[in-house]
C-alpha cells in the first residue's frame, strides 16, 4: 500500500494533467521510494489509482531501467562503466567491488546490505571513475576509496 501522503499527492497530480496516465512514472517512483522496489502489488495499486489497465503500468515499469523490479539491498551501488569511466579504469572498480562483496552485477549480498549494478553515464565524467549509492555521488575512485565508502555503509 502507498502511504496516505503519496495517495493524496497522486490525486493532486492527476488534476494537473490532461490525462491521469501522465502520473504513472511519478506514482511508480513514489511506490519505489516507499518500498525499495516495485512489486506486482505496486503495479496493481498504481493502475487502480489512475484508472488504467494493469498491462499499461506493467509496460511502463518494464521499459525504464531505474525501477527495481525485484527487491534490492539497503544500498544500491551503481558503478558507471560508460566510456569516460572506462577510459579511467572503471573495470578495476567494478571487479574490486565484485570480489569484495562476492556478488556479481545484478546481485544482492546475502545480508541484504548491498546490490551491485552497472550504470550508464552518470554525467560525472569530470571525476571518472564514478559510482552512485542512493543519492550520493562518489568520484575519482580507486579501490582504497571504494573500501572506505563501503565500510561506512551499514
Amino acid at each position: 500500500m502507498l502511504s496516505e501522503a503519496s495517495r493524496q499527492k497522486i490525486e493532486l497530480l492527476k488534476a494537473r494533467y490532461r490525462q491521469p496516465q501522465a502520473v504513472v512514472l511519478a506514482a511508480l517512483w513514489m511506490w519505489q521510494d516507499e518500498h525499495g522496489w516495485v512489486s506486482e502489488e505496486g503495479l496493481r495499486e498504481v493502475a487502480d489509482l489512475l484508472g488504467l489497465p494493469y498491462h499499461h503500468v506493467y509496460g511502463v515499469v518494464t521499459f525504464y531501467t531505474m525501477y527495481n523490479k525485484e527487491p534490492v539491498g539497503r544500498h544500491k551501488i551503481e558503478v558507471c562503466t560508460n566510456v569516460s569511466c572506462m577510459l579511467r579504469n572503471s573495470d578495476r572498480i567494478l571487479d574490486h567491488i565484485r570480489k569484495r562483496l562476492e556478488i556479481n552485477v545484478g546481485e544482492t549480498t546475502p545480508d541484504n546490505r548491498f546490490t551491485l549494478v552497472e550504470a550508464e553515464c552518470l554525467g560525472a565524467c569530470g571525476g571518472a571513475p564514478a559510482m552512485q549509492i542512493g543519492d550520493e555521488y562518489h568520484e575519482n575512485l580507486d579501490p582504497a576509496a571504494v573500501d572506505r565508502i563501503l565500510n561506512e555503509l551499514k
Binding site: 490525462q19 517512483w29 531501467t65 550508464e120 571525476g127 543519492d135 555521488y137
Partner: protein, 566 residues
Amino acid sequence: MTTEDLHELAEKETDRQRQLRDRILYCAAAGCVSCGSHATRDAIKKALKERNLEKEVEVLGTGCMGLCGEGPLVKISSDGSVYERVDEETGRRIVEEHLCEGRKVGAHLIDTSQPFFSSQQKIVLEHCGKINAESIDEYIAAGGYGALARVVTEMQPQDVIEEIRKSGLRGRGGAGYPTGLKWGIVRKAKSEQKYAVCNADEGDPGAFMDRSVLEGDPHRILEGMAIAGYAVGANQGYIYIRAEYPLAIERLKLAIKQAERLGLLGNRIFESDFNFRIDLRIGAGAFVCGEETALLRSIQGRRGRPRPRPPYPSEVGLWGMPTLINNVETYANVAPIINRGSAWFAGIGTPKSTGTKVFALAGAIRNTGLIEVPMGIPLRNIIFDIGGGTPEGTEFKAAQTGGPSGGCIPAEHLDLPVDYESLATVGSIMGSGGLIVMDSTSNMVEVAKYFMDFCMDESCGKCIPCRVGTVHIYGLLDTISRGKGTTDDLALLEELCVMVKETSLCGLGQSASNPVLSTLKFFRHEYTDLLSKPESFVPSVSPDPASAGPADGPAANDGHDSTTHA
C-alpha cells in the same frame, strides 16, 4: 511583482552583499560535493566562528567552477583567488592566512591567468561559481528575471522571436536547428493550448553540461522557459530531467518554489495577462527519452518510444498540442540575448554558429571539467590550451564529440574550428557537448565497440534496423576485436552500418553507426591490423599478448555465419 519590485529586491541583495567583509564561495556542484566540499564548508565556517567572523564573512555554495578534476574548489570573492583540492585543513588555513593575515595559501592556489580560465568566454555559465545556486535573491541581484520583465511588459511575442532569430542561436542539444525558426513555428500553430518543454534528459556518455547548468544556475532555465512560453503562447512548461541527477532535481524544485512565491512563475506574471507554470517530470533511466518524440511520450506516462516525424512536436506534440522543445543550454542563452541584444550575441562565434558552446572535457586529458568557449575556436586550443593536453607520456590520438551519435576527430584535424558545419565535414557532430579525449593508449576498435554496446542496450526496440542492426554490428565488432574477423566481416560491418544509419526510425539508430564509421575512416588500420595479424591483438586490460591471444574463449553471439572465422 512589478519591474520596480524586482529592482528593489536586486538592490536590497546587492546592499547586503556590499556590507559583508568578504564572501567565500565553495563549489557545491556534484563533482566537488562528491570529493568533500561540504566538509570543507563546515571547516571554513568553524574557523570563521572561532574568529568571530561568521557575520562578516559569508560562506556560500555555488555552481560548477569548471576544474572538476581538482575539487573541492574554493574562491575568495574580494580578490578572485581560486583554491584547488581544499580539504578541511586547507579550508581552515584559508580563513586564517588569506582572510585574517592577507597571505595566500600558495600550495593550493590556482593560477587563474592560465589558458584554462583565460581562453574561455562565459555566457551560459556566467553565474556558475559566482552566485549561490539556491538563492533567488542572488540571481535577481545578478540581473536575473530582468529579461523576463522586459519581455512581458515591453515586447510583443513576435519581437521576442525576431530577436532570437537575429541572434542566430541554434539548438544546443546537438542538431543545431535554428531556435528562432522553431519558436516561430510553434507561435504560428493554431491551438488553444501549447506547451514549452525543456529537454534535460542528458544521456550522452561524456556529457555533463546540462547537469552543471541546472545545479549551478537553475533560475536561468526557468527564466528562459518563461520567455519562450510568452513568445510561443504557451502557459505550461515541463522540464523532463533524468532521475540520475538528484542534486539538479532538488535545486530545480527549490527554484520553482522560490519563483512561484515571488510571482515570477504562475498567474499574471509582472501584472500582465501572461500565465506560466513549470512542472518537473522525472525520467526513469531510458537514454532514448532524450529523443524528442520519445520524451513527449514519457511525459504522458507511456513507454518512451519514438514515433516517425513529421509531424514535428512544434505542430503535434504533448497530447496532440503544439509543443516547443529546447535543450537546457539553449534556454540558458535566452535571457542574455534579450538583455544584451541579438547583435551582441551574433558577434560571438562564427557567422553560422553564433555564441558559445559549453563542453564537458573527459577522458585522457589533464584538466577534466566544464568549459565554455566561443564557437569556431580550433579544437587544438580546447585540448591543449584549456585542457592541458593528454596525461604525461602519452600522445593525443582523437577527440570524440557527440557521444554515441558522434564521431572521432584525429590529430590531423586538430586545427578544425569547432562549429556545427566544420565538425560535420569530418563525420562528427557538435552533439550536446561531451568531448572525450583518447590518447595513444586507447584502442579505437574497443571504443567503437563500447559505443555500439551502449546503443544496443539503449535501443527501444521499436524499429528493426536499430533493434537487430545494433546487435549484429556489435557482434561483428566483437569478432574483429577478438582477432577472429575476416575482410568479409569488415565489409559486412560497413554495409550494416550504412543500412542502420539510413533506415532507422529515430536519431538513436540513425546515428548509432557514426562512431564505427568514423573510427573506420580515420583508424582503419586498427581494424585491418586485427584481421591480418590476429596474434598481435593486445586487449587494453592485459599487458601480456601471449595470454590474451584470440585462440579461445566462448564465442559471443556473433550474429553471422561461423564460416567467416579466420
